[in-house]
Amino acid sequence: MTMETLEAPPPTGVPRRGDGMELLTFQCGGRAFAVDIMAVREIRSWSAPTPLPHAPPFMLGMVNLRGSVLPVMDLAARLGERPTADSPRNVIIVIQQGMRVHGLLVEAVSDIVHPVPEQLQDVPKVTSDEETSMAERLFVVEDAMVQILSMERVLPALPGLAEDALQ
């Protein structure tokens, strides 16, 4: 991260729509993250998930999403942080990634932002850092940094889908 980028003044008035990207920002484990708003299907309030057997710790289970079954994971736990504490303020961001629909438990949703290209940065290479690798790019605003998450990386590979194809 360079000072130069930080100093770039945020545009005033009509926001310049960088590369047309709209981001949903949210808080998780005390840090700020963002996802492409096109991947967000809805945001829903917390409801107790039904646990899944033999699931990794970040996999909280599943909840009833208007008649269909939605898997929910704790994003903080997925990023290697301490699991999100139970709180009625917690929300589930429902993410659509291709055919998969997933819920991400986060602490709170913050804002919708339209970054301009100057505000976007590639993720600096930090060796073998699991959590850095979950971020696709960085979005820098004022003195804060928001990690834009790559849903491909956040959603765990599905066991038993690829290798089970019969042919």
Partner: protein, 746 residues
Amino acid sequence: MSSMDEIRATFFEECTELLEQLEGGLLRLEAGEQDADTVDAVFRAVHSIKGGAGAFHLTDLISFSHEFETALDGLRTGAVALEASVVATLLRASDRLGDLVAKAADGEVGDPSIPKDLADLAARAASGGSDEDDDFGLLDLPAMEEAFTVTRIDIDLDPGGPNAPPSGAAPTPSPMKPGGYWEICFEPLPDLFASGNEPLYLFRALHVMGRLTPRLIETDLPTLEELDPSQPRVRWIIDLVPSAPDLTETEIESVFEFAQDLCVFSIAHCEPEDPEPGAQGTALPANVAAGKPDPAEAQLSSVAPDAPSAPAALAPEPKPEAAAAGKQPDGAAPDGKAKGGLSTTIRVDLDRIDRLVNLVGELVICQAMLTQSVLKDGLGTNSDSASGLDDLQQLTRDIQDSVMAIRAQPVRSLFQRMTRIVREAAQMTGKDIRLETEGEATEIDKTVVERLSDPLTHMIRNSIDHGIEAPDRRVELGKDRVGVVRLSARQQSDRVVIEITDDGRGIDRERVLARAIERGLVPADRQLDPAEIDRLLFLPGFSTADGISSLSGRGVGMDVVQRAIRDLNGTITTQSEPGKGSTFSISLPLTLAILDGMIVRSAQQRMVIPLAAIIETQTLDSARIESISPTRSVVMLQDRFVPLLDLAEGMGFARPARAEGAPPDEDSALLFVQPDDFDAYALRVDAIEAQRQVVIKGLGESFGRVPCVSAATILGDGQVALIIDPGGLALAAESIRSPLPAEVQA
């Protein structure tokens, strides 16, 4: 999706059906049902694919189906005799056509080359046909000629009018004189003859009203070998130039008064059009080709010269039978043109049906909850509300069954697909295999049909590759050279049982056991009974093939088959007799949408156990539990001990700590479950809450494979509950998977 894309999608959907018709027809031909209808159906199928392909400029498909069509035409004309080798060529061609269609559907380009055998066949067909051309001398069978002579209904009312040119004559809409004319479409239904009516009299009655120019619609006429003379097969379009200009539609209709319900007819008034030169006043006899020239038409046309050349009066002796002879019912009207009637089927997007299935599922849940709360509120079972709810329950069940019936499909198409697998596998292994099928009409959920395709393919390949011996070996053993694979389906109460049987060598249990020991799947000193050995086949990582054959050894084994079946809430069992063959039985639920289950509680979680797997329940107090090691317990079931597993522990859920020595919940119970491929075992649960129908919610794309669980459901309070897969649970719990030490067996 643009409308063009939609049309395209429809085309490919139709292609699938057409390919099935094609293959089904060819298989009937192969089986010796060499009737003209079948040949025609096959021809039509290819022709329709070609036609559709033309609309989408799928050139590969067009050229291939054209060649195919030419070859098939040879069968229709008789230029190519219907021999086994020919049918084999055609079957291979139909496989290729299927491949090309599949490629085209994916927007890819298939291998457009025409196999040599097909090209040869087409060449033979073409040369055979062109020799005779319009003459069709190959139809010179005396019987046919005779049939044609009587068939001819020459209702040419204009003496001196030339006989029609043979087929190939322009299908001109016979033009009329100025003043307009009536166009009457007339198609006798089978009952017309049965009730003693006679089209001739209708024509005569019309003739009184003016000048008639009948045109015979003779497309899709079958060849003459299989005529059913009691069935009318011809349709006419009659142009009537009224002698009195004030002729009304009602007057024409009155002619058909007595035949009103016995024929399909329509009357339209036409203004005179610019007549085609030369056609003016020329009354064509009844053989104007109305469509593409095809041999069937040509056959009819070819009789024209033989017919009495004096056209004068109405047909000499057109008995009803004679009139019928020209056309034969093509029963199913497989080309979808429901003749003269309404189509009785509609195409519906599967999503819409699934939505309905889901809604009905919710209705079932809601109804169950309502019943519960009515009873809870103290309204007796004899109250009006309760009896009303009984009716509601009945209705709900009926709706549910009806909706399921929409999704139900006969397994025929699935079985038909397997014929190709058998053919290919037989070719690759050099074995002679005959596939016998039974119960193709058995219906099962569409999704099941689709998802059975892969496991069945795999099992059939296995049977052929590993089960059936090489032909020479079979002869040595005194068996028929041709191995038989039987595929049967039948409904058994609320399940469908599909069996794959071969008459091969049976499961080589010694080899299976040796392999399992070698792989470390069972301890070397373990004594296993035959059924246990058979079950080893389904263990992951087991494969008996010594070398990986290209056919069945692709690194997937029967364990994958089993998992696929289990995903469908199905079970699979084996039976095998050395030297006689093996049978694999797949038992599947009729529907994937609803399950009868027992709702239980364990570690504060509610879960559903499929009722079908439960063989007995006991309260914990009454059960006789023995501990055989600090971590393993067994429990008495009838006269033997079976392993005991705590449900929550088996699922990997943390149990809330319980004070040492504290008495267990008084509601605790044991469910004895018997997964198909495992021994029975007992599941300890904290409470049995209810027995209920639950709506199955697949975990599908978003979850991947979840161990121990077949699906989920949503309970009355909106909470999601897991549906336990007892087999998967047993698999996850090692203590159950390994058979009990012998000394514990009671």
